[in-house]
Structures are given as structure tokens and as C-alpha cells.
Symmetry: C2
Subunit: 220 residues, 2 copies
DNA sequence: CACTATATTCAACAAGCGTTGAATATACAA
DNA sequence: TTGTATATTCAACGCTTGTTGAATATAGTG
């Protein structure tokens, strides 16, 4: 047993164990000893490599955040190039934003699955959202909002932001993999089925954007 | 000072303090001593009234869950009556589902605001969702899914469930009041502005439902 | 008043927490 | 080999945690 564990360095094992546990139980629901135990490592080693518990949490979050952010940037750029002079379609922009779902679906690594749930935790936490989201993700969000403005030139800026907020929420609950949709449908739909979640979410939110951001008659 | 505190019983103060703290920091991020301190009450009193910490958490969650669930049932029923023989509109059904936003907006009580964030926490937590959501809320959800089926008779059941999932996510992030939309818009949009969140969300998700659930040509 | 049930306080328990400094093992260069 | 930096273990620290049982206060009843 523990074949795969051998192929990873101990510090990687710590990050992976922490990722899995933080994703499920949140920052305060996990102890350093639980992390060390799951990583099959001494308790003091996590402190040695990453410093305090909070710094370990940052390290876990940032590790894949930077990968994700860089990929998002690349995908949006390519989509813009591909569209050439013509406007990008709403669907193309949204596809790029929903990239986390595609990454989690295509990579078989359970690490990415765990990270998706961790991302959902940070997104929905009043405490951690403020601390962790701005540093890495805010620039990408601005780029996406700009792309949306170009695709919806007549829209009010606030409407776009609120729609973006709804998309972000739908995405977050999907990433969280709470298993609720499985329970409600008796297993017919699966929380882990990012593929379907992705394919249906694109037309859903595209239609929402078009409805809310369409030119209005009057608004008092 | 502490004028209002006097008008509440100590056990109410404990529930309110726990509600506020659990909503912001999660179950594990709050200690019994913090709750007691905020409620201006002895540490042992919370145990005396509510039992173990986990039982206190359940008490906090269930207190308003039952009110909310009952109101939801009533609103949906009335909306069905009002529609009479004709089908309910999608918008009417969604309005009823988004009731938590209206309650939080109309009641000035900060307690309801805190509870909204607690609800978001439970909705997005893989651990608590399974424990707390089924007992009170599942029956209401089934009723709503049924209403949606009537309004969208040609839709595939799975599509409806996935769309419901997106709505649930958008709602959850709104309830969470993370302050992210405030930061992204420089204060132009406000997390606490449930009124706008509600008014824009209805057309947004109604359009999404119609798009995803419209009769398809073919699907391989 | 006395009696009783409920409410509240107090002090303390054992267990678990994050973190650290010193001791030891390992890897690699000279 | 010896020397040195890095990696890992060990034992322990002071502190906080949830919870409890006994002591005390309060309220209501006869």
C-alpha cells in the first residue's frame, strides 16, 4: 500500500492532504495533526515547510490558483483572437469563465476536484473571500467583465455585475460538490458530473444575461 | 447601553449571538466562550439550555428554518390559487422560491440577515448540507420542482434539476453577503441590497429556464 | 413563610490545540 | 572521509477547547 504516496515528496503530500481536508471541513474544521496524519508525516513538518497554519492554507490555495488564473487568461485571449474583428459571442466568453469545471472534468487528478471544493469554500466565505480572492483572481474578473461589456454594449454596468454575481454563485455551488442534487434526484443527477453542469450552464446564463441586459423601454 | 439586550431572554440572546457568529465563521470557527461572551452570559448556560455545541447549532438553524419553510409553502399555494386554472408563470414560481431574499429585505431585524448568511453556509457546506437541509427544506423543494414541471411540460426532468441547482447557487452566494460584489464594483453594487438582487434574479433565471428547457430539435 | 422547580453561576476537568527548540537523520559538496 | 545545509523526528510547552457537577440565585406555588 501507499504506492502513490512514495512518488510524491513529503511537502507535496502535506499540501494534498491539507487541500482535501480544508475543502471538506473548512479552515477551522481541520487540525494540523489531522493533516499530518493523512499525509503520513510528523506534525512538526508542516510548520517547518510552510510556517503557521494560516500560511499553509494560503500555500494550498495559491498553488493551483496561479495555474488556474494563467489558463483563464490564455483561454480568454485565444477566444478573442479567434473571434477576430467580429464580436465574441456571449457563449464564448462564458465558456472561458467556466474553465474550472472543464479542468476538473478533464484532469482525473482528485487533487483538482478537491481544489474546486476549496475554491467554493473561499468564494462563499465572508472571511476568506476578502483575503484570498483579490490577490489572484480579481484581474481575471475585470477582464471578463470587460469582455461582457463589449458583447453587451447597451447594458447597464450594474446589471452586468449582478449577472456576473449570479454566474459566480451557480459556479460556486457546482464546485462545492455538496451532493445535494444527487439526493434530490435520487442519483439521477450527480454533483461530480462537471461535464453536464458545464454544458447546461452555458446556455442558462447566456440567456439570463441577454434578458437582463437587453435594451429596456423605460425604467423609473 | 445594552438596552435591547434586556428585552430578550438569555436563551434568545444565546441563539442570536450564535447565529451571528456561526454565520460569519462557520461551525468550527466559533467557540462556546465567544458565543457566551457576545450574549453577555455565562459559558455554561448555553449547554444548560441547548445541550452540546452541535445541538445548539441545530437549534439556531431550525428556529428560522421552520418559519421560512412554512411561509414558502403558503406563498406557493397562494400563487397557485391566484393563477387559477391557467398555468402559473415561471416568474411567479421563481418569486416564491426567492422568498428568503424578500424576507431579509423587508424585515429590518439583523437576525434575519445573519440567518441568511448561515443558510448560505449550510447550503454550500458538503458536511452540513447533508445533515440539515433534508429535514426541513426538502419537501418545499419537491413542491417547487413539481410547479416548475407544470410550467415547463416539455422539459427533461434532469434539465429542470440542473437549472434549479443554478438558481440555488445564485441564491446562496447572494445570501452569503461576502461583500465581493461591493469590492469588484467599488461600492456601486452592494451585497446587502437584496432588493436589487431579487428584482434582477427573477428575469435572469426565468430566461435561463426557458432556454435550457425549450423543446430541442435533436440530442444525441 | 416553606417547598420546589427552574435558571444561572462558578470552578475545574481531561483532551486537544498550534507551535517550538533541540536532537537526529539524510543528502550532497569538498 | 569530513563538513554543512537541509529535512525530519521527538518531546514538550502553554493555552484553549467543550463539557460537567456542585453551588447558588430566582421565581412561582402551596
Amino acid at each position: 500500500m501507499a504506492k502513490e504516496k512514495e512518488s510524491e515528496s513529503k511537502s507535496e503530500r502535506i499540501l494534498n492532504a491539507a487541500e482535501e481536508l480544508f475543502a471538506r471541513h473548512g479552515y477551522d474544521g481541520v487540525t494540523m495533526r489531522q493533516i499530518a496524519s493523512r499525509a503520513e508525516v510528523d506534525v512538526a513538518l508542516a510548520n517547518y515547510h510552510f510556517g503557521k497554519k494560516e500560511e499553509l492554507f494560503h500555500a494550498v490555495f495559491n498553488r493551483r490558483a496561479e495555474i488556474l488564473s494563467a489558463t483563464r487568461r490564455k483561454v480568454l485571449m485565444e477566444s478573442q483572437k479567434q473571434a477576430g474583428k467580429g464580436k465574441q459571442s456571449l457563449e464564448q466568453i462564458i465558456e472561458a469563465f467556466l474553465l474550472p469545471l472543464k479542468i476538473a472534468q478533464e484532469s482525473q487528478e482528485p487533487g483538482w476536484r478537491n481544489y474546486m471544493a476549496l475554491l467554493a469554500y473561499v468564494l462563499t466565505s465572508p472571511v476568506w473571500n476578502e483575503v484570498l480572492m483579490p490577490t489572484v483572481f480579481d484581474k481575471r474578473v475585470e477582464e471578463f467583465i470587460d469582455a461582457l461589456k463589449s458583447a453587451l454594449p447597451d447594458a447597464r454596468e450594474e446589471d452586468i455585475h449582478w449577472c456576473y454575481h449570479y454566474v459566480s454563485g451557480a459556479l460556486a455551488l457546482t464546485l462545492a460538490q455538496t451532493g445535494r442534487i444527487d439526493r434530490l434526484t435520487g442519483g439521477q443527477c450527480k454533483s461530480t458530473d462537471f461535464d453536464t453542469a458545464y454544458n447546461l450552464m452555458i446556455p442558462f446564463v447566456a440567456a439570463g444575461f441577454r434578458e437582463v441586459c437587453k435594451p429596456k423601454k423605460k425604467r423609473k
